[in-house]
Symmetry: C2
Subunit: 450 residues, 2 copies
């Protein structure tokens, strides 16, 4: 493999097949010429947006790959780019991740180890100082690679900064590492975080079904489960993975990609109630009526906004449950998975952890090959047997776009998903990554001075 090498002032030296030892790198100082001593800059890595069960596996991959490359300083942004702008940097390589055991421990820790943020850079025209500040800090700390782990909105940061660098001929490289439980990043097969969230959802839905079936009551018992998914129904679809020869799975699954028909929904429940005593339903928080209004906005005080200006959706499960209770004598329960579905690292999928880790490694490798303005992609060559390969995609076609569940994977009655979906998702939930237990509870790595 050829490596493109720069010094910390951004001067390009050329290509080398060998990575010099760290010692050589430190001892040397700006000698030029091909094949002689070179200096390679530091890495800064940040986590942004909603946390997932595997976001730290990506962080671990970055640290591991950077260490192998002989990078001197591996910095972490404390609370994403907001912390970076305050120079709140964590010396990951020296203070936290020093051994292979640390790497393994980090991979088993939920939520964002470095902290996260929901902050979109303003357009350059509105606030050029922010951009100048970012680059001044990068130069101050000899940072040549800026890696950002995040979803849709976070890739926007990568795009803005790499555009600025291109425009102002800055040498620093910017790579996005994908992350989201929502699985809605385009140009890739699926995203890190989705497999583990799906495993959690399918396992929990199955346990809820088991629990709900246990009484033989003449009065039907209905459970409505509300699952995350603002516009894309990937997470809600995962409820279907509970289906097997030992479980019939949910009776109804409603995704936001298709209009929600309230009358048909309740008619189906009443039909089912004639023949079964246990009915379990999965709905996405983002289901909408044919006219586009969110079901959870049936009662207006439910509408709240998050920092990115997205409506914070929740409550449609409760509204649908309450309405059913008023209109029938059924026993009705509403369950909202809430943040449990994105933080359940105790039941993370091996495939998901591995892929999250790998995209971190891949990002470092590509950044040091000179790539910038790109996001790492996960691609599936074949699904059975499952074969994955990684790639890069221009961040301009990723940022601020959403990939939805194909309507062809939703049944014509809009109340289930097809086998096509299950074939797609099953490989991602395979294997369970065992936590490190202490006193009966999973143990986590936390930010503290060692």
């Amino acid at each position: 493999m050829d490596f493109s090498l720069y010094n910390t002032k951004g001067k390009f030296y050329g290509i080398s097949r060998q990575i010099p030892d760290s010692a050589e790198w430190n001892a040397a100082d700006a000698k030029s010429g091909l094949g002689e001593i070179y200096i390679m800059g530091n890495v800064v890595i940040g986590q942004s947006g909603g946390p997932t069960a595997v976001i730290n596996a990506s962080l671990a991959g970055v640290v591991q790959a950077a260490r192998i490359k002989g990078v001197e300083k591996i910095y972490g942004m404390h609370y994403g780019i907001q912390g970076f702008l305050k120079e709140d940097l964590i010396d990951l390589g020296n203070d936290y991740i020093r051994t292979r055991e640390d790497i393994e421990f980090l991979k088993r820790t939920p939520s964002a180890f470095l902290g996260s943020c929901r902050y979109k850079l303003p357009p350059f025209e509105k606030d050029p100082e922010v951009y100048e500040k970012v680059f001044a800090i990068m130069e101050k700390y000899d940072i040549s690679c800026f890696l950002y782990i995040g979803g849709n909105d976070s890739m926007d940061t990568v795009k803005m900064l790499s555009d600025y660098a291109a425009l102002h001929k800055k040498p620093q490289r910017f790579i996005g590492i994908p992350k989201t439980i929502d699985n809605d990043l385009p140009v890739m097969d699926h995203t890190p975080g989705y497999g583990s969230a799906s495993k959690y959802i399918a396992t929990s839905v199955k346990e809820i079904i088991r629990d709900n079936e246990c009484y033989d009551s003449p009065i039907p018992s209905v459970v409505i489960i509300e699952i995350m998914g603002r516009h894309a129904g990937w997470l809600t679809a995962a409820a279907a993975l509970s289906r097997g020869d030992d479980c019939s799975g949910p009776d109804i699954i409603c995704l936001p990609e298709v209009p929600f028909d309230m009358d048909a929904f309740y008619a189906r429940i009443h039909e089912l109630a004639k023949v079964k005593h246990s009915i379990v339903i999965a709905v996405s928080e983002g289901i909408r009526f044919a006219d586009g209004t969110f079901v959870c906005e049936m009662e207006e005080e439910n509408v709240k906004l998050d920092a990115f200006g997205h409506k914070m959706l929740s409550g449609c499960g409760e509204l649908l449950a309450n309405k059913l209770m008023q209109e029938s004598n059924y026993k009705v329960r509403n369950i909202e998975f809430s943040t449990l579905q994105r933080s359940a690292t105790h039941i993370a999928s091996v495939i998901d952890i591995r892929e999250a880790y790998d995209v971190g490694i891949y990002a470092v490798n590509k950044a040091y090959e000179g790539e910038t303005g790109k996001v790492v992609t996960i691609n599936v060559a074949e699904r059975d047997p499952y074969q994955v390969y990684y790639g890069l995609h221009d961040v301009h076609s990723v940022a601020n776009e959403e990939k939805m569940v194909p309507v062809a994977w939703i049944t014509p009655d809009h109340m289930d998903v097809t086998e096509d979906y299950c074939r797609y998702a099953k490989p991602m939930i395979a294997g369970n990554y065992m936590p490190y237990y202490v006193d009966g509870i999973p143990h986590h790595m936390t930010l503290k001075k060692k």
Copy 2:
């Protein structure tokens, strides 16, 4: 060990140190005399009340022990005593649990494999026919041992039937096998089901804390977690087990054993909000004001009843969250664990599974020694190292009574639990009993003809 032996018509023969082979038992027919051939009756086992993550481990223990004893037919009640009264019996020994692998598979299955019921026998004076029916069915199927896995209300069934048997000089034996996530059965240290529910709660609370801490927002983020516990706060106390050197645990824990002071509660939140950006609170569904009214009854339409006449409590977490949202600018989220906390066998504790299994074995052994009108108890000789032994207690002092968290284990400000509680609970959550995974999801044993 001496065994008391009866024939299926109830005639007592005497004591033997040996259990004859099944073949001898079947071949013989009512020969009397000590040391000669005896006939031992069949077992019927039922599950009752709310299911738990380990209720099937008790069932497995019963089947295993009965098989070893050479019992010919091991019947399961389909949906508890309600099914028994309809003669809806499952031939467990022949149709479902035939191998050691079946036993292991059953132990890893959540919720009541046989189905459950919430049905209390009416007093004899009100409905003598029900009692006559129970005994007629027992005689028809040559059942000499009636074992019932359940909690408080279920032990009532054991009491009523054993009292009737004593009064009418019936030979059948009745033993209760304890079960409840609530841990509120008196006369024993703890109950099967509690350890796994606690492991689930502590793990999930810890993941919620991790998730909630990830943003460095100037506006505090508050999560209120509502946990089951009608009158006893054992489950809610388990949130404290998330505390360790890697986690500060919940900031406030409110149990129903002490009056809930709304003003002090909100004052504490506001104090914490000045110094931390993440606040996580655990409240029991059964918290009450000083005057005895349930907090969830603040808005009257929340009050519903279950089949045993207990108020179905839920919603106090949501009410408290809504009030906080109205009175502050904090970001507030409400999470209710709902049935997840009692069906999460994927994170069952080894100790809990083992003890649930053991009390099933013990029940069979004692029934065949002639014991009746008793409930199996779990006793702790020493907590560190943890040593457990099993015993029997008169069912009259167990049925319809509740064991609460000692007030001495609740801090004086009523917002936390003490180290005494943690020392008590920690041993029960140790080890994790790995599910059998198929296609990435835990696999369950279900009722179907094999």
